[in-house]
């Protein structure tokens, strides 16, 4: 018998082949349940879920207006410039604005906390 072919006999009481509890899994579950993480997640979701619904609704409103409310869209504002062109340009403006607001929110509300939690979690892996 060489050492390389040696296999430990399964101990009674521990079912053979049952995986060891993964220490990483426990750490992730613990971190997920921590108030710090819950706060980061809440701040993320509180911003992106309503904002996503809002911009999708705003975009759909524009698409429906362009296909079904053409008289309204044809209304002229100044010279050749009409409501349709204004509405389209407002879609550009709102996209830029929401991008800026999202970045500001992330920076102010969760970047620092997320980074701290990252280092703390990775410390636990050591």
């Amino acid at each position: 018998m060489t050492t390389s072919s040696y296999r430990p006999t399964p101990t009674l009481g521990v079912p053979f082949g049952d995986p060891e509890p993964d220490p990483r899994a426990e750490i992730y579950l613990r971190v997920q349940a921590s108030p710090e993480f819950q706060e980061i997640r809440r701040r993320y979701r509180d911003f992106v879920f309503p904002m996503s619904l809002a911009f999708l609704a705003w975009y759909l409103l524009y698409v429906f207006a362009s296909t079904f409310a053409r008289h309204f869209m044809a209304h002229r504002i100044l010279g050749a410039f009409n409501v349709a062109l204004a509405f389209g340009l407002l879609q550009f403006a709102s996209t830029f604005l929401i991008t800026w607001a999202y970045a500001r929110n992330a920076r102010a509300k969760r970047d620092r906390a997320a980074l701290n939690l990252r280092w703390e979690t990775q410390e636990m892996f050591r």
Binding site: Y28, L78, Q91
Partner: protein, 537 residues
């Protein structure tokens, strides 16, 4: 009279050809440089993850703004006025989905492909197979549309109507993209996309300034002239000329608009770009750069499209190409001083070269994403069951780039006489119906499981394909793929309005119908990793 005219035309072709050769040499130079700096799988798939946010933002813009955007949207505006502008907006607004719901989380959860994220907490094999299949289908559709478009475009620009230029362009572009990807990997592809984005924006800014100069920087004068010259009057500036004919065409546009706004976040070649930056914050900043660049580009396109209508008039544009794809090259020629002038020749050649660079960069990105998925998802994780090393995985990736390139060339050659413009819209529809539901459920729904994933992908993919198969695009429409028979029963050309809800519904039902409990620990890992980056690659 014909003598000097032909001489000038030949001069334009010579200059255009010269610029094409210069571009090919530059991109091959980049490829050689990148191949010397690519050794590991990390280099090949993710460009070493060391690009800056600004570089990646430029590359994303370069990956996203296809020749269809540059020439197609400007052409649509030139011919249909406001409706072309309306079409372009979905491509921009879509980036908010990417920014807020996808980019950072995907960066932290995945490694090399979209399937990495989707398979994260599920049973690997069936999910990888499904996600890999969806990735390859979306990329190949997109690729064929780009390559056939490239063939048509180069033939038009070089003034060849015999069809041999088109064939050779498809073969040449296909060969180039295989070389870029097999040797340059993600590093080479990214730099090609950066160069292209700079050229494209530079070209668009130059042309916009020339248009504005011509109209004394008076936008109202530009709009008035465009409306007048188009022959449609004020209607040219209102919605309805293209998408407002009847109820079906309106619903068709709404279906398209929904697919555009939701599809971008599910395009595999866009998702893999987030792996090239070191952190989730860098991924966020790269999307912000991309939004700025893409938004600016579409704003410039509005001026260019209305400018083409105002300067050239619809008849001249239609006579050159019925779909309006040559409106911008014609405009360049006119703004440079006219067809027989030195300025006209130079500007036309420059814009043609920009369009060519655009095509090369987009096809390279698509080939990379699909071959990465084939090697990493299907070969390594499904066929070899992870029993492979990095070297043989890389060999498989390079080999699959060659195979996918060959398939794309073959399909494009056999489709070159067909109207394949619908394939881009179909790629977006599949991405929105199969990939987006799967990604969102994976990232945000704790109970989502393997069965749900497989149902969502195949349900979304299958419904989009089946609906298009029985749509007027394939049979019974104005320019159908098959003529002589009419087996269509789905009235719309764009399946999104039906297939996207089906994709979401399938994911939900598939999850509930399975007894499989979602892995709580894996979901915890995914959530913590996605929002903090702990444990991310």
């Amino acid at each position: 009279m014909t003598g000097p005219h032909l001489a000038v035309a030949a001069g334009h072709r010579g200059l255009t050809g010269l610029l094409f050769v210069v571009l090919v040499l530059i991109t091959l130079g980049i490829t050689v440089w990148a191949s010397r700096n690519s050794r590991t799988a990390n280099d090949f798939y993710a460009g070493g993850r060391e690009f800056s946010a600004a570089q990646n933002g430029l590359a994303i813009a370069g990956d996203y703004m296809s020749a269809a955007s540059f020439l197609g949207i400007a052409g649509l505006i030139a011919l249909f006025g406001y409706d072309g502008f309306l079409y372009s907006i979905g491509f921009l607004v879509a980036w908010l989905v990417v920014l807020m719901l996808v980019a950072e989380l995907v960066r932290n959860c995945g490694r090399f492909t979209m399937a990495d994220v989707v398979a994260f907490r599920m049973s690997r094999k069936p999910v990888r197979t499904a996600a890999g299949a969806a990735t390859i289908v979306v990329s190949i559709f997109y690729l064929i549309a780009q390559m056939v478009g490239a063939g048509t475009l180069v033939a038009l620009l070089l003034g060849d109507t015999g069809g041999s230029a088109q064939t050779w362009t498809i073969v040449g572009v296909g060969a180039l993209m295989v070389v870029y990807v097999t040797f340059g990997g993600m590093k080479g592809t990214t730099w090609i996309q950066i160069v292209k984005a700079v050229l494209l924006l530079g070209g668009a800014i130059l042309m916009t300034l020339l248009v504005l100069w011509r109209f004394h920087f008076d936008l109202d004068e530009l709009l008035h002239t465009a409306a007048h010259t188009s022959g449609h009057g004020q209607q040219f500036l209102e919605p309805g000329l293209k998408y407002g004919k009847n109820l079906t065409s309106r619903l068709d546009f709404i279906s398209l608009a929904i697919a555009l706004v939701l599809g971008t976040a599910g395009l595999p070649h866009i998702l893999v770009r987030f792996y090239t930056v070191p952190t989730a914050r860098a991924a966020r900043h790269s999307v912000m750069w991309a939004i700025g660049l893409i938004g600016t580009f579409y704003l410039l396109t509005i001026v260019l499209g209305f400018g083409a209508a105002a300067v050239l008039g619809s008849d001249r544009i239609r006579k050159s190409n019925a779909a309006g794809n040559t409106a911008l090259p014609l405009l360049a020629e006119e703004l440079g001083g006219g067809p027989d002038t030195f300025g006209g020749v130079v500007l036309l050649a420059v814009i043609a070269a920009v369009a060519f660079a655009t095509i090369l960069a987009v096809v390279a990105g698509l080939t990379l994403a699909s071959s990465a998925s084939f090697a990493h998802d299907l070969y390594t994780n499904v066929i070899r069951k992870e029993a492979t090393d990095e070297k043989s995985e890389l060999r498989a990736a390079r080999l699959s780039a060659i195979v996918i390139g060959g398939i794309a060339i073959g399909l494009s050659l056999s489709a070159q006489k067909l109207n394949v413009a619908f394939l881009v819209a179909l790629a977006f529809a599949v991405a929105a119906s199969a990939n987006l539901p799967t990604l969102l459920y994976t990232l945000f729904w704790r109970r989502f499981n393997t069965n749900g994933t497989v149902w969502a992908i195949y349900g979304g993919l299958g419904s989009a394909l089946v609906l298009v198969l029985f749509s007027p695009v394939v049979s019974g429409g104005t320019t159908p793929l098959v003529t002589g028979v009419d087996f269509h029963w789905f009235p719309l050309e764009n399946p999104g309005i039906v297939s996207i809800p089906i994709g979401f519904l399938c994911g939900w039902i598939g999850t509930l119908r399975s007894d499989e409990e979602a892995d709580a620990a894996k979901y915890a890992e995914m959530e913590v990793r996605s929002l903090t980056g702990a444990g991310a690659y």
